[in-house]
Symmetry: C3
Subunit: 205 residues, 3 copies
């Protein structure tokens, strides 16, 4: 289950990384670089923070193909897309909805308490995309105003933790986690769902 | 002692993170995200670099409340502040003066040599704020011209190392470390203390 | 061999970090900070990702002098340079050509498979400079359009892997790795060698 979630999130995040590389008009190696960074960034952070024996893609290097193939694919086909930004945003939502349960699952398998599970879900989900956006100088999706992003990861991980404490099966809990994340993110993108933001009289003072 | 220093630096750095989040007009989850990143960033880097058995907040997840509570607090009260930037700057100075001894203390407890102690003091002190500023697109306090910042951390850690080599008690050494850091930073903020900067005929060539 | 490569890449990368600090007109501690970050950034990432017993400069803190001395040196002599940007770019090319084999060598010594060796070569080579440029707000050399950079690291690491599989001696393989990296990077700087970039009808859509 963990391996499947990691593989899927690597693949989809790599697609988003390659799309951002196309917006920056990089060459094929630039596509590979940004796609890999995005794809393994969140999971690598998770494994380092939890001090696992080996980072997931060092333990199983075959997973690197799941980052390389999408990069090449996008390099040769992205010009066929009507709006790369739309595709990018929605793929990123799917990647988030797979990566959050991947983070939760690893923390669960190590018997971590609720607070750590929550943080692993959020950071596995959010940091790959955050690194992608910081390196490529895009406005980080994580911090875009008027959209839910970290909130979706937070709610997804929280839903899983609560469900598991009520005795739900672990696999079902992870599916619930992914669906909650995806539903909130999709609702935010499609219908403008949001939380009230902090408003000051003089914002930057 | 280490636990108390970590807890205090997490709390104060979380306040600064939440104030930066208020300047970026984020929602409550954005406050939690930036506050947590700032609060545990430096100490997490320290623990990863020193390859400790577990990152401090994974070993003791209760510490995460010390990051979450200030975020909520600031979200609901920051509008009462006359100038958030001033409060932010001075709180950051206090956080630095607690985090540097926290880094020094951990390196000492692992029996590291002077060079490593110095770097742990500086990076525990400076990296939480640096991540906060990079992610939120503020000018990093670390690199602001005409202010001492890394220098204060450097001098604080250095003072502790020298004092300990002259046989000072470890607790007193850590207090000296914090006071040196705070005094220099406060002097720089209040009286404009600074070091001469590099001046070139043509800066950016 | 690994120690020599690490030491050399620390020294040269520290020179480039200090030159970037001079362009940002920092003070002497700022020079030390940026030089150290650049010098040990890539190797530290490599050691954390591979979960080595200790990060290389914690295992051997004497290496920190190789980061500090160039910082001081550049602080007092950079004004003698005709064009710091040119010197910076070429020194960075040399540092890259030493750091990539340093990454490859460590991955080899741990018996890692080809995919992991490749990534360690690329990340040891590229991440120190990337951190330097992100922190100092320069356009990352890694992503500069119309230049080969990651590609050189990629090709260098790849050349070593292929040569070793054909039975070449490990030391010769590392030298080949460095020369390939340097030749490609120099060719790109001097003669404008490049790969075709992705071109879209509407780049940012």
């Amino acid at each position: 289950m963990i391996a499947a979630l990691d593989m899927a999130s690597v693949f989809i995040f790599a697609l988003t990384g390659a799309l951002v590389a196309s917006r920056a008009q990089l060459d094929i190696v630039g596509f590979l670089f940004v796609a890999s960074l995005t794809a393994v960034g969140g999971g690598t952070l998770r494994d380092v923070l939890l001090n696992r024996d080996a980072v997931f893609w060092v333990a199983d290097p075959a997973i690197l193909w799941a980052a390389a193939i999408p990069a090449v694919l996008v390099f040769f086909t992205a010009h066929l897309l009507e709006s790369r930004l739309t595709v990018l945003t929605w793929l990123d939502a799917c990647a988030l909805a797979v990566a959050v349960p991947a983070g939760v699952a690893v923390a669960l398998s190590l018997g971590q308490p609720a607070g750590v599970i929550l943080i692993m879900g959020v950071s596995t989900g959010c940091f790959g995309g955050l690194m992608r956006d910081v390196v490529c100088n895009e406005v980080p999706l994580v911090l875009k105003q008027g959209e839910l992003y970290v909130t979706c990861a937070f709610a997804g991980a929280g839903a899983a933790i609560i469900a598991l404490q009520f005795g739900l099966d672990e696999q079902l809990g992870l599916i619930l986690c992914g669906l909650t994340t995806l539903a909130l993110r999709a609702g935010s993108l499609a219908f403008g769902w949001r939380l009230p933001v902090y408003k000051a009289r003089a914002p930057r003072r």
